[in-house]
């Protein structure tokens, strides 16, 4: 992961803001606006308690960029640390299991969603534009799929397993 300039904390938007349902545009990872956005996502994520990932849509920008960092989370197995990916997509997602997930942009609910626990993701690093492939599992795999969904304009609400799969959120960090 290339070293990025210091980022600025941005405001996190909440559903039903339409930007959250807007598929992001492909970005040029070497453009200054993309590099700034990448740095701002990491900065915003870092000051948001319990936040392990943040997509451009969550700071009001419909772009295919997200940050992730599951370091130190109790459920983390494989961990790639703080990473920003541009134009990312899942190459394969297997070993699906259902879990209950919440999102900073949907503070009132959690939802039961099936996600692959083994994942291969391909995307570009900001600044250099280098294409990388990340192979991971467990919690990091779930978080990556959640963030890629954001960049496609999808919330976990769009993937909930059934009519009884939405629950009042009990804790909001």
């Amino acid at each position: 992961m290339p070293e990025l300039p210091a980022g600025t904390v941005r405001r996190v938007v909440r559903a039903p803001d339409l930007v959250l349902s807007t598929r992001g545009n492909d970005v040029d990872p070497t453009e200054s606006a993309t590099i700034e956005l990448a740095a701002d996502l990491l900065a915003t994520q870092a000051v948001s308690p319990g936040c392990v990932g943040l997509a451009a849509q969550q700071v009001g920008v419909a772009a295919r960029v997200f940050s992730i960092d599951v370091s130190g989370h109790a459920k983390t197995r494989t961990c790639h640390g703080a990473v920003v990916l541009c134009n990312a997509e899942a190459v394969s997602a297997t070993a699906k299991e259902r879990g209950r997930e919440g999102c900073m942009s949907v503070p009132d609910f959690t939802g039961d969603v099936a996600r692959g626990r083994r994942l291969v993701v391909r995307g570009q690093l900001p600044l250099t534009g280098e294409w990388v492939e990340i192979t991971t599992d467990g919690f990091e795999a779930v978080a990556l799929q959640h963030e890629i969904d954001h960049t496609d304009g999808l919330l976990f609400l769009d993937r909930v397993s059934g009519p009884h799969g939405i629950h009042p959120r009990r804790t909001y960090l």
Partner: protein
């Protein structure tokens, strides 16, 4: 009249269009639908919904009367007080019970849950051909209450001859 929460229950013979008919009739009251749930219980339509409106329970029942006039549906409306959120602050667990059908499975298992101070926040039961299945989501008063609850559920299940499994439900905040 001040807006109040009115609970509407709809029970009866299932057919396509009941939800659309009920919510369509309520739309005329200029109220706001809040939480609702609906399922089929052995093929019978069963729905509860909450509507916030200033129209009053009698107006709600009156608006829905055409749907129950032929006797195929039973519809009731009553005013609820302000919601009392659960005070149980411990972890969530999924309770799964299955076994040969016999009287008292739900009463015995939920009785154990209640004695341990856990709250049931979601529950469904199904009867198949001699097979009874119960699924519930519990909120425990504390993590420390788990061991005792689990032991007593196993004891009750043993007496009933059914299987019981208790597993944690974790929220992954992403």
């Amino acid at each position: 009249m001040t807006d109040q929460i009115i609970a509407v229950t709809v029970l009866g013979d299932d057919r396509p269009g009941i939800v659309a008919d009920v919510t369509g009739a309520l739309a005329g009251l200029h109220g706001n639908l809040e939480d609702s749930t609906m399922t089929l219980l052995r093929g019978h339509f069963a729905m509860v919904l909450l509507i916030r409106t200033g129209a009053g329970a009698e107006s709600v029942e009156s608006a829905l009367h055409p749907l129950s006039a032929d006797g195929s549906l039973v519809i009731n409306a009553r005013v609820l007080g302000d919601s009392a959120l659960s005070q149980i602050g411990g972890p969530s667990y999924a309770l799964r019970v299955h076994g040969a059908d016999r009287p008292g499975i739900v009463a015995a298992m939920t009785g154990v849950v209640a004695r341990h101070g856990a709250n049931i926040v979601d529950l469904g039961t199904r009867l198949g051909d001699g097979l009874y299945v119960l699924m519930a989501e519990l909120q425990l008063p504390s993590e420390e209450s788990l061991a005792g609850l689990d032991a007593d559920l196993r004891g009750a299940a043993g007496e009933l001859g059914v299987e019981v499994h208790l597993s944690p439900i974790d929220d992954d905040l992403l």
